[in-house]
Structures are given as structure tokens and as C-alpha cells.
């Protein structure tokens, strides 16, 4: 007698697909329970909840202007990561020229809201007119840039879009300096205005961006759950199979480019209005890497991941790294949390942390006994650490550089050894990291930020390619 399946799925439903929820793994214990309860709440209530938190944060905490600016930058990056997610996460098209759409939006708004064109009076269109126009033009540009994706995929598409991004910066730098301003950019732009309403305060821009973020999430969610969203994922997994299933592959790819471009351009217009100036250097490769770091960290393919990653990268790197005091807390905090989460069993965690602390005091004492100037520096903000634990010479730059190079070498070695060797090697690695941080990295936040961005891309790809919130891709062979 044949064994009856426990609950047969309905007619016309694939059994493997119907059981996807059962196959999903939850972490054991209370974390799994929380996750299950959270997943029972629908998507729209969750969006509403997140939006409400966003609305109340400035009201309740009372952010100062610096914190508001950090919030605005973070929201911008979240919107951009959301848009990038469409082509990279959903459609699987590596678009390395994405930041040019952002720049296009900013320049488009700048030209339509300043004295740059049509002097002496210039063009000063209201925002409800100029922003949609710029977005539509950007969608057209997205179609043009996406056009090669009809024939080229993967690396070739990546390189062509990267060329496009570089060409955009070259273009605004060199072409028509009287109109586009060249390296000096365009200044004195109008704030967002229209119909007797003018947004000039930081709080105002914060809420505008929050509204735009929620709006884009809503629209993208509807797209994601529609035919187009399913088609994108089908094309991402296997373009050939998708075309066999009568999905118009080329049109679907172009749609992803166009929508990503529209969202980026929208963010660009608000950025330009808020800054009231635009420069070509705002839209160069480092910002592209920033957007990618946000998306990858959060998890490409997941909308909430993109938003969370964008917010996180921007707030941590731009907000906290600015002041040496807070950045040190972040630095040691992240190391500690990583050790606690990644290292098992507990005895090993205790050995590494205790060993690092003891190692530090011993090393500090030995070096201090040999030469007192070698430990005299107090470069970092944590004076106590500098004076008693980490080695910071009176002139810390060269020593810090050496420490940083040593740190890179140690990290590379660390990935090549296994078992107790790795645990033992972790102690000097952590100590050298602390010395490099105290002596050099905490003093140059601008460069440290860029280094961390690169490191985020490498580390996330190696250890958790799905990012924080992304789901693991299952390769169906």
C-alpha cells in the first residue's frame, strides 16, 4: 500500500514549492520563536511600524542638526541601496554605473532649479514638476545604459556600466563648463519648493526622504510580488530557462535598469536640493562602493536588507566615525561582538580575550622598559588604553602604518591556518589591530571609512554572501 502524504497540496501546486515553509530552518530556542512570530505579521503592517519608528525618532529623541544630517545621509543611502537592489539583487545584473543615475538626478534638478541655464534669470521650476521630469529622463537613460544587457551579461555588463559611471564624471567635469560648472559644480540651488510650500529645514528634508523611502518600498513591494518581480528572479536564476518559459528576458532586464535609475535619480534630486549644490566628485567610485557595501551587508535581494544595510553603513561610518571617542567604542564593540558570535566554544572566547589583554600589558611593559618614548604617545581618544595597554609611540604615524600592514598580513595568515594555531594567532592579531587603530586609524577617519567599506565587501562575500537579512540562494541543478 502506498504511503499517503500527510497533507497533499492542492491540485496544480508543486509539492516541492508548497513545502518550502517546512524546509525553512529556524534558529533553535527563543530566536526561532521570535522569528516565527515576526513572520506572522504581514508585510504592510511591518512597513507601517518601521515608518512610525522613523517618524518618531526625531520627535522623541530630539536630534541635533549633525544627527539630522547623518539621518538624511542614511535615508539617501537606504533609498539608493533599495534602487540598486532592483537590478543587482532581483534581476541579477551587476550595474557598476549606478551612481551615475544618482548624479544625473542631482544635476538634472540643479539645472532646473538654478541660474545655470537661461541666464540671468535661470530656470526655477517647482519641485512637483522638475522631480518627475528628471525621474522620467533618468528612466530613459537607464534604458540606454541597460541596452547592452540584451547581449552582454556578468563581467562585460559590469565593465560597460562602470565605463558609463566613469564617463558621467568625465562628462560633468569637462563638457560645457559654463553650463555644468566643471569641477566647481553648480551652486546656489533652490530648496524643494512648489505651491507656496518651501522646505528649508533639515527636519523637513528628513521627513521628505522618509516619505520617499516608504513610498519606494511600497511601490517596489508591489512590483516584487507582481509578474515583473517573479520574472526578474526567473531571469536572475537562469535567463535561458526564463526565456523558454516565454518571459521576455530583454524587456525584463531593461525594466530593472529603468526602475533602478528612476529611484536613484529621485534620491539625487533631493540630495541636490538639500545640499543646494552639486559637484562631480559627489558621484565618483567611492560613493558607488558605499552603496554596494550597504546593499551587500544588508543582503542583496532583500528589500528590508537593503534599507537596513544602507542605514547601518551610513550611520556607523559617517555618524560615529567622525568623533574619535565614539569610533573607538564602535571599534572595540564590533570586535567583541564578532568574537562572541563567531567563536565557539566559550573557553576559546575567554582564552582569546584574556590572552589579548595580558599580551597587551606584557608587550607594553617590555617595550616601555626598552624605551620610554616608544609608549609615550596618546594619539587616540582613549588615553588610558594608550598609556597602559596599546603601544603608541610619541610619533605614531610610521608605527601605525607598520601595524596596519602587519595586521593585513596577520589576517591573511589567519585565514590560512586552522584549529589552535588560529586561536593562538588571533591574540597578536587583535593586539596589532588595536595598536593600528589607536596609533593611526582613529586619527584619519576619512581613510578608515574607505578601508572599512572595502573590507565589508570582502568579508561579507566570504562569510555570509546572503548578507544580514538575505535568504540563502538554493542552487537547483
Amino acid at each position: 500500500m502506498a504511503v499517503e502524504p500527510k497533507e497533499s497540496p492542492g491540485v496544480g501546486v508543486d509539492e516541492w514549492v508548497a513545502r518550502s515553509a517546512e524546509r525553512k530552518e529556524y534558529p533553535p530556542g527563543w530566536r526561532g520563536d521570535v522569528q516565527r512570530q515576526f513572520e506572522r505579521v504581514g508585510w504592510w503592517p511591518r512597513l507601517g511600524l518601521a515608518a512610525a519608528v522613523g517618524v518618531f525618532i526625531p520627535l522623541v529623541i530630539g536630534l541635533n542638526s549633525f544627527q539630522l544630517q547623518v539621518g538624511i545621509d542614511a535615508l539617501l543611502l537606504a533609498i539608493l541601496a533599495l534602487g540598486l537592489n532592483v537590478s543587482v539583487g532581483w534581476a541579477g545584473l551587476l550595474d557598476l554605473g549606478y551612481v551615475a543615475f544618482y548624479g544625473f538626478g542631482a544635476y538634472g534638478y540643479a539645472l532646473l532649479s538654478s541660474n545655470q541655464l537661461n541666464p540671468p534669470n535661470g530656470i526655477h521650476w517647482p519641485a512637483y514638476f522638475s522631480i518627475p521630469l528628471v525621474m522620467i529622463l533618468a528612466a530613459g537613460l537607464g534604458l540606454a545604459v541597460g541596452w547592452p544587457s540584451r547581449r552582454l551579461i556578468g563581467d562585460y555588463l559590469a565593465i560597460i556600466t562602470l565605463f558609463f559611471g566613469e564617463a558621467f564624471v568625465e562628462f560633468v567635469n569637462n563638457v560645457a563648463p559654463t553650463k555644468l560648472g566643471g569641477p566647481n559644480g553648480i551652486i546656489a540651488l533652490d530648496p524643494l519648493h512648489g505651491a507656496h510650500l518651501q522646505i528649508t529645514t533639515l527636519t523637513g528634508y528628513f521627513y521628505v526622504l522618509l516619505a520617499l523611502l516608504v513610498l519606494s518600498m511600497a511601490v517596489l513591494h508591489m512590483l516584487d510580488t507582481s509578474r515583473a518581480g517573479r520574472a526578474w528572479r526567473a531571469v536572475r536564476e537562469d535567463p535561458l530557462a526564463a526565456s523558454v518559459m516565454t518571459i521576455p528576458v530583454n524587456r525584463v532586464k531593461l525594466l530593472a535598469f529603468a526602475i533602478g535609475a528612476m529611484i536613484a535619480a529621485m534620491a539625487g534630486t533631493v540630495f541636490a536640493a538639500q545640499q543646494s549644490n552639486v559637484f562631480p566628485s559627489n558621484f565618483d567610485t567611492p560613493y558607488l562602493i558605499l552603496i554596494y557595501a550597504g546593499l551587500i551587508l544588508g543582503g542583496a535581494g532583500s528589500m528590508s536588507g537593503a534599507v537596513l544595510g544602507g542605514l547601518l553603513v551610513s550611520i556607523v561610518l559617517d555618524g560615529f566615525l567622525r568623533s574619535p571617542n565614539q569610533s573607538s567604542y564602535i571599534f572595540y564593540g564590533v570586535i567583541l561582538i564578532t568574537l562572541l558570535v563567531k567563536l565557539r566554544p566559550w573557553s576559546r572566547v575567554a582564552i582569546v580575550i584574556g590572552g589579548t589583554i595580558v599580551f597587551g600589558f606584557v608587550a607594553h611593559a617590555i617595550v616601555g622598559a626598552i624605551s620610554s618614548t616608544a609608549v609615550a604617545g596618546t594619539a587616540g581618544a582613549n588615553d588610558w588604553i594608550d598609556l597602559h595597554w596599546a603601544i603608541v609611540p610619541a610619533n605614531p604615524v610610521t608605527f601605525g602604518n607598520i601595524c596596519f600592514v602587519a595586521l593585513l598580513c596577520l589576517v591573511v595568515t589567519l585565514t590560512q591556518v586552522k584549529g589552535w594555531w588560529r586561536t593562538a594567532l588571533m591574540i597578536p592579531t587583535l593586539y596589532v589591530a588595536a595598536c593600528a587603530w589607536e596609533a593611526r586609524l582613529s586619527q584619519v577617519p576619512a581613510i578608515t571609512r574607505l578601508l572599512l567599506l572595502g573590507a565589508i565587501l570582502i568579508v561579507v562575500m566570504a562569510w555570509r554572501p546572503a548578507g544580514l537579512l538575505g535568504s540563502k540562494r538554493v542552487e537547483v541543478v
Binding site: 565605463f163 562602493i289 591573511v412 584619519v444 578601508l451 572595502g454 562575500m461 554572501p465
Partner: protein, 305 residues
């Protein structure tokens, strides 16, 4: 006419550098199907290594040993050092991702490139550094006929890059290592089954490709004097495109593509406009990649299902 010849030599000099960097791209792409964005930055690191070797020998104005020895040391140390760096990057960053979806190593490569650039920025600052080649190899040495001035350094760059390419061609076509490399490029799994040490072969490929980039960096420092931490990024892009123009995976193709792009750039700068030269070159490259992605010497590959 003299201007034409002058631009021709300039183009060949630049093209030789493109070709050397393109070779590394092409080799790595061949064995791993990976677009190694960090390759252009290895070229930058090579330029810096050469600079510090030069300083170690007393600096351009007060060399303590004969010039040929200094040059040989610069090329050797830079080639070996950058080659080793390339191997380390492969082991650390790319090896864990060998079976990951193709987008993952690309993003890692972007991260490695960014990390290299900013590490150099942290260590050596953003300012330009000057090889000051004319202090120990005066401009007057070389060929001067009519209005044409060809500096001996330019001749050296062209000759050395062509020689290196022929050497590489021989390695790939005539030696055991080359056979292994071609086998891995064709089908990694099959090569592994035949007893080829795939890890070793890939490391060797990275070493060869990266050391060519290092040597190219020293040449760039010698020929153009100024080096800075961001010099590798755009050059890497153009070199990859040179590899594509010639047909990716093909060594003569990478040479041809490199020289073609160098010449195109020199003639556009000389005859059309120097402000827009980058834009025009980008445009040509984009058009070429769209219209003929298999390149001049590449073969059309059938997609296996």
C-alpha cells in the same frame, strides 16, 4: 609627419603598458572566469615598489650604483613582490569563492581593489610622487631626427613589454605549466581529474599576471614620472577592455588590443582633443564591447545548456 611619428611612439609606449596589464587580466579571466578589478591596483603597487627601490639606491639624483643595475633591481623586486601580493590576494579573497555564484567574486574583487587603493593612501598619502627619470636617464639619450624625439626610456618600455609578451607566450604554449594553465582554463574539473594541481596552477597564473602588472607599474613610473594611489583604477578598466578588444583569453589578442587602445588614445589626444580624449576612448570601448564582445582574435563560444 613628425607629429604623426611622435604620437605613434607615445601610443606604443602607453599601449605596451596596457598590453602588459591586459595580459594579466586575460590570464586570470581565462583560468577563473573572474574579472579581477584589483589588477589595475597591483600595477599601482608595482609603481610604488619601484619608486621605493629607486629611493633605496640613493634616489634619482644620487644613485650609488650604475643605472642598468638599478633598473634591473626595480623591475625584479617589483615583479616578484607584486606577483607575491597577487598570489596572497587569490588565496585570501578569491579561493573561498571559487564555487560561489559569479557575482560574489566580482564584488570581492571590487572590495580588494578599494582596500588596496586606500591602504596605499593611508601609508603614502594622496600626493603625487615623482620618479624624476630624466635625472638619471637624460632626455638627450635616444633618437632625435627632425622634430621627432624618442627617449630611450620609451624604446625600453616598448621593447621590454614586447619581449615579456613573447616570453609569456612561450611559457603558455611550450611548458608544462602552460599546458596545465590551458587545461584549467578549458575545464577545471576535467583538469583536476587528470591529476593537475589546480590550486598550484591558479596561484602560478596569478603570480605571472600580477608580476607583469608590477613591471608595467615601474615602466609607467619611468616613462611618465608621476605616480599616485589612484593611477590603477582607470588604467585597469582600459586594460581589461584591451583584453576584450583583442579577444579575452588570447595572449596575442591582449597585445594587439593593448597597442590599439594606446594608439587610439595617443592619436585622439594629439589630433582631436585632449580634454575629451578619455570620453571618446570610453565611447569607442563601450561601442566595441557591445558590437563585438568576442574581440578581434577571440572565438565565438557556444553556450552549453
Amino acid at each position: 609627419m613628425s607629429k604623426f611619428i611622435q604620437e605613434l611612439v607615445n601610443g606604443l609606449t602607453q599601449g605596451g603598458l596596457y598590453a602588459l596589464v591586459a595580459l594579466g587580466y586575460s590570464m586570470v579571466y581565462g583560468v577563473l572566469k573572474l574579472l579581477n578589478f584589483a589588477h589595475g591596483d597591483l600595477y599601482m603597487v608595482g609603481a610604488f615598489v619601484g619608486y621605493f627601490v629607486l629611493q633605496w639606491f640613493g634616489g634619482p639624483t644620487a644613485l650609488v650604483v650604475p643605472v642598468p643595475i638599478v633598473l634591473a633591481c626595480m623591475f625584479l623586486i617589483s615583479g616578484v613582490g607584486v606577483g607575491g601580493l597577487g598570489v596572497a590576494i587569490e588565496r585570501f579573497a578569491y579561493r573561498p569563492l571559487r564555487d560561489a555564484p559569479r557575482i560574489a567574486p566580482l564584488i570581492t574583487a571590487l572590495g580588494v581593489s578599494f582596500l588596496l587603493e586606500n591602504t596605499m593612501l593611508l601609508l603614502f598619502g594622496a600626493s603625487y610622487r615623482d620618479y624624476n627619470t630624466s635625472a638619471f636617464i637624460p632626455f638627450s639619450t635616444g633618437i632625435h631626427i627632425g622634430g621627432v624625439n624618442i627617449w630611450i626610456v620609451q624604446i625600453m618600455v616598448i621593447v621590454l613589454s614586447v619581449a615579456l609578451m613573447f616570453g609569456l607566450e612561450r611559457i603558455v604554449t611550450r611548458t608544462q605549466l602552460g599546458r596545465q594553465m590551458r587545461a584549467v582554463a578549458t575545464d577545471r574539473e576535467a583538469a583536476e581529474m587528470l591529476g593537475i594541481n589546480v590550486d598550484y596552477t591558479i596561484s602560478a597564473t596569478f603570480f605571472l599576471g600580477s608580476s607583469l602588472a608590477g613591471v608595467a607599474g615601474v615602466m609607467a613610473g619611468l616613462a611618465f614620472n608621476n605616480i599616485y594611489t589612484l593611477m590603477g583604477f582607470i588604467l585597469g578598466l582600459k586594460a581589461f577592455t584591451a583584453a576584450v578588444v583583442g579577444g579575452i583569453g588570447s595572449i596575442p589578442g591582449a597585445m594587439l588590443g593593448g597597442f590599439l587602445i594606446g594608439l587610439a588614445e595617443a592619436f585622439i589626444t594629439g589630433y582631436v582633443s585632449s580634454t575629451y580624449s578619455n570620453l571618446i576612448v570610453f565611447g569607442i570601448l563601450i561601442a566595441f564591447m557591445i558590437l563585438r564582445p568576442t574581440g578581434l582574435l577571440g572565438k565565438v563560444q557556444l553556450q552549453k545548456v
